[in-house]
Amino acid sequence: MKVRIKFRKYGALKFIGHLDVMRFFQKAMRRAEIPIAFTGGYSPHMIMSFANPLGIGLTSDGEYFDIELKEPISSEAAVRQLNQVMVEGIEVLSFRQIAEEKKMTGMAIVAAADYRTTLVKGEFPENWLDRAKEFIAQPEIRIMKQTKRSEKEVDIKPMIYQFRPVEENGGQITFYMQVASGSVENLKPGLVMEALCGYMGINPEEVSFACHRLEMYADTGVDGTRQLVSLENLGTEIPQTPEKGTQCTQMSGTETEMEPA
């Protein structure tokens, strides 16, 4: 059975890199006694795949990884057991069964992500809100993008699906955005901020932003039309196992049917 786990990462945990978060969850799975499946071979390892790693310094309300279970466990029990072995700064939000097809797991399906960025250091001009609206209204947003070998100019506008500048909590300069994410196209919110600073004539060295991922989506649309569904909503809650001691090897619809009405 394949399962998708959603978690959030906040506070000091933003300084823990992706690989270490993976290590953390490998150990947490054992502590929580989640019946996770292992690969075969001489040195078996947990079947676990993470979607779109979050960079150091970012927090998130929408992080995901998929695992394989060797026996079922209810969503409610799994979330409870996992949260008993978490640390401050990391919380499991959901634990849902997902489709078995290989192409539906992990990194492969991520198509977009929502972010919130907040100005935490430096100044924006008085008219920043109007300027930001003008910025996003441009037909093209061309920036220089560093690749492994060279630098090239790209238009990031098609990768920005939504962009909303707002002033929050008494003057906090904040941007909400939805951008292309994943293995096909990927736009980092920091790059959007850099482009915005460039547009407004602000030296990017003099400002810094706190960046928070809100959600990640898969694109379920056909024929090239985008239809975004959060990764969480591609899964379904696993109900409680009927009774302790009841023989059950398969967790499926047939079992509920066998229950006395």
Partner: protein, 659 residues
């Protein structure tokens, strides 16, 4: 929304999913109210943490780390390891003490590690005081700063800890505004080089008299006594050495004339503290699990303390006498509990010589049966290579990838008898032969150069022994073996340590060490199987410094201080060690290196550490030194008691089978 792409996307049903469609974005406030109130404030700003390597070293918050309400504890203890986080977090001793202190409701013990050179620079520039990981509060405000001292090359890092904490470097300049600075660990068996920087040294195993010290501290503070008065009382707790109450006097030739208390009512000898019953001693059943990969990223089971072997160069083998085993049933329980509490995917046994643990087979069989199926790796260091260990290793490791390790320490049988290393060429070739037939093809060999009485033949025998092992490999028919074998020999230079039979041995100069390594290197090139052999050697300049501090007296403290002022830090790390400033420090302070290294010490010389009683008598060490010079071996503790004196502790191997 005016932008085109957004408008296009907006028409899709998928947008119902998007959080961005909500009109009130504050719904996704990052923290809930209660989190905001309870979340720890980090000592370092985000800007600093994002600009340095591995910020996870400094944020604490690891699973199983202990948080307490600081207003509800009476004693705050900062436990420091003077090296980087990944090294310090791997140390079992600190984990034991951390657990032991935190079991007391009135004490909160937190951890401190050396900031790496990148953060060190920032902290100095911005005058940020050193902080403990759990509370993120300044170390200077703590009641105690405990520092474990594991190797000589961390001495400048000790000064860094004091300096960054803004605690006066010299004990005599401290007031109640500063914590009590207390040192422990193997290097404190000769504490003199560090004497002036510490208020107290704890000589022995930490499980023993800390409770007494903490209670004395509490009552002293409640009564409002002076710091000095408190230290005077502490000096009367067995095993505690308060250096400011002792003074050395020297002969004209620089050797020690006398050493003793300068205050009335402090003992003239400090007695090592040991736990008689290790099975019932506290053990950390829920150790802290680091976010980043520490050197020791696994559950560690300490199966026994001490070693029955009596190798004459080995300090641990003398310090931790008598050998004491932990009950195997208790260890099985610890294994289960600790794996559950940490989630580690590996478990390792810890001891000086695992093969000498009497219940090893029982324990290893249990670990394999219980955990192998759950994907838990089992690691068994310090095993003697024989049929049993090869069988176990073939069950727990991938033979093709793993290598066998032998530590003959010396190339010739003559020299192995001098050092009392009971490993013979026959045993090595027999073990290697069995292993090769079992599919192994990689062997690691460890040697020491510069051992007492070493001749050129002894050095060359290192290469010859390596070649004999390779020859044994090529005796296997070609079609049955897996390509070439790889024999890697490494040598370090011998450093005489206090409380060993070799504490009187002379060292060599840096040039002489390099000359010896070159002889070995050259001999390797003469061997038949040279293409299957590899030889590495350890730096010689570090060896000389280690030698000075291992057997140094109070006068070498100023060299450490001067080297620190000249920028020396992380001297245990090849990439950060610089010999020139050290040489400058010796020159600036007028301390003669050779007095501590190459000089011949007489058996009746008063040694700087003679005031410490480790339970093993100086007469035994002398006897062993003389037997070494004759090349006579001494049997291990289980074969025959040699009357070293450790039986006075009333436990362990000395009383096995005598109940």
């Amino acid at each position: 929304m005016t932008d085109r792409s957004a408008k296009k996307v907006n028409t899709h049903a998928g947008w119902k999913d998007s959080l961005l469609t909500s009109e009130r974005p504050s719904e996704f406030a990052e923290y809930t109210e209660s989190e905001r109130n309870h979340m720890r404030k980090l000592a370092l700003s985000d800007e600093i943490l994002l600009s340095i390597e591995k910020p996870a070293r400094y944020i604490g918050n690891e699973f199983n780390s202990v948080m307490k309400d600081k207003d509800k504890v009476e004693v705050r203890f900062a436990m420091a390891f003077p090296d980087v986080y990944e090294i310090g977090m791997s140390h079992l001793g600190i984990q034991i003490l951390y657990d032991m202190f935190n079991r007391r409701e009135d004490v909160w013990c937190e951890r401190v590690y050396s900031p790496w050179v990148d953060l060190d620079k920032v902290m100095r520039e911005q005058k940020i005081p050193l902080f403990a990981l759990e509370s993120q509060e300044a170390v200077r405000a703590f009641d105690f700063l405990g520092i474990t001292i594991q190797y000589e090359m961390c001495y400048t890092n000790i000064l860094q800890l004091l300096d960054l904490s803004q605690i006066p470097m010299y004990a005599k300049n401290r007031t109640w505004e500063d914590p009590i600075v207390i040192g422990g660990g193997p290097c404190t068996y000769n504490p003199e080089p560090l004497a002036e920087f510490f208020d107290i040294f704890y000589i022995g195993e930490g499980e023993k008299v800390y409770d007494e010290l903490l209670d004395l501290y509490k009552s002293s503070r409640a009564k409002g006594v002076s710091r000095e008065e408190f230290l005077l009382k502490a000096a009367n707790i067995e095993g505690l050495y308060v250096p400011m109450f002792y003074e050395p006097k020297y002969h004209e030739d620089g050797t020690l004339k006398s050493f003793g208390p300068v205050r009335e009512g402090v003992p003239s000898t400090i007695k090592k503290q040991i736990v008689k019953d290790v099975t019932n001693a506290v053990y950390p059943e829920a150790p802290v699990v680091p976010f980043i990969k520490a050197t020791q990223d696994r559950v560690v089971l300490e199966i026994q303390r001490g070693c029955i072997r009596g190798c004459r160069f080995c300090q641990a083998g003398m310090l931790y006498r008598p050998t004491r085993e932990r009950d195997v049933e208790t260890l099985k329980e610890y294994a289960k509990t600790m794996l559950k509490n940490t989630g580690h995917e590996e478990i390792s046994l810890s001891s000086l010589s695992s093969s000498d643990y009497s219940q090893l087979k029982e324990l290893v069989d249990f670990l394999i049966k219980e955990f192998k199926g759950e994907g838990i790796n089992i690691s068994l260091p310090s095993l003697r290579i024989d049929a049993f260990s090869l069988d176990v290793m073939s069950q727990v490791q991938d033979i093709r990838k793993s290598s066998l390790t032998f530590a003959p320490e010396a190339g010739s049988q003559r020299l192995r008898d001098v050092i009392n290393k009971g490993l013979t060429e026959e045993i090595i070739l027999e073990g290697a032969g069995q292993a090769f037939e079992g599919g192994w093809s990689k062997v690691k060999l460890y040697f020491m150069l510069g051992l007492p009485t070493e001749t050129e033949e002894d050095m060359k025998d290192i290469a010859r022994l390596a070649d004999k092992i390779a020859r044994r490999y090529y005796e296997i028919p070609k079609e049955e073996r897996h390509g070439k074998c790889q024999i890697t020999a490494s040598s370090s230079f011998f450093v005489p340590k206090p409380f060993t039979p070799f504490q009187w041995a002379s060292m060599y100069t840096c040039e002489e060490y390099i000359r010896r390594a070159c002889i070995v290197k050259h001999e390797f090139q003469e061997q038949l199987n040279r293409k299957s052999l590899k030889y590495n050697w350890h730096e010689a300049d570090v060896t000389v410094l280690e030698g000075v501090f291992a057997r140094g007296d109070r006068r070498v403290g100023k060299v450490i201080e001067e080297a620190y002022r000249l920028g020396c830090l992380y001297d245990a790390w090849t990439e950060t060690f610089h010999n020139e400033p050290w040489m400058e420090a010796f020159a600036n302070t007028g301390v003669d290196i050779e007095f501590y290294t190459t000089r011949k010490r007489e058996l009746d010389e008063l040694l700087p550490w003679d005031f410490i009683d480790i339970g093993v008598s100086k007469n035994f060490l002398k006897r062993e030194w003389e037997r070494a010079m004759e090349g006579t071996v001494t049997p291990n503790c289980r074969v025959q008691c040699s009357g070293c004196g450790a039986a006075q502790f009333g436990g362990g191997v000395c009383y096995e089978g005598k109940n």
